[in-house]
Amino acid sequence: MADPMRIRATEKDGEIDVKVLMKHDMESGQRKDAAGAIIPAWHITNLVATVNGKQVFAAQFGPAISKDPFLNFKFKGAAKGDEVIVSWEDTKGDKRTDKGKIS
C-alpha cells in the first residue's frame, strides 16, 4: 500500500492554507535502468481535496511533477477543526487517502 501523505492545513482570516506532501516516485518514463531499459512511467494522475463533502481543489499530474510531490493551495469556507481530505490515484490504479485537521 502507498505511504501516507503529510497534510498541513492552517486557517488565517477565513482563508485555509493547505500544504500536501505525497510519497510517490513519480517515475517519468524517461529514465533508463542499469541495463539500459526504459523504466516505465508510474505517476500520480489525479488528486482531489474535499472539505465537509465539498470539493475545494483538484489536480491532474503528468510525469513532470517532481518525486514526492508537493502541493499548496488556498480556499475559503471552512473553519478550524474541519478536516481536509486528500485522495490521489496513480497510473497503476494505486490509491491513497489521508486527512488533515485545520488548525
Binding site: N46, V56, F57, P69, F70, K76, S87
Partner: protein
Amino acid sequence: MNSKRRKVLQFTALVSFMAGSGLLSEADAAEWNKAAFAAKSMDDVMKALGGGLPEKSDAVTLKAPDIAENGAVVPVGITTTLKATNMAILIEKNPYMLAGYFDLPDGTEPFVTTRVKMGQTSNVYALVKADGKWFSAFKEIKVTLGGCGG
C-alpha cells in the same frame, strides 16, 4: 506535538481503511486528460484542454526562481487577479509540455504552488483559465549542473 502526530497517524490508518472499503465516495476524480499530457506542442496541449490559445496577461504571475539548483525539483507557483477556474503549468522543452492541470472551484483562491521536473533550461508557462479563456505568463528557468558531477 508527538502525541498529536500519533493521533493523526492513527486517524490516517482509519481513513485509508474507509477509502479501501469504498466508504469515501467524495474522492472520485475527473478523468485524466491523456491527450493533453501526451501533447508535445502548445497547440496540441491547448487543443486537448479546450478554450483556445492563451493570451499573455499581466494579471497572471508565475513565481519561480531564475535558476534551479537541480532540474529534478523546480518550485513553480501561479497567482492571478483573474477569477480563475483552472490553472496549468507548461514546460516548453520537456518531452511532454503539460506538467500539471488544476481545478479551482468557487471559494478556492486563484493560487497554486507545486514542484516540477525540467530536463533542461526552458521557458515555463503559467496558464490561467477565466471566463472560459486562457491567459498566460512565462519566464525562462535555467537548470544548472551541480555537485561533483559523478
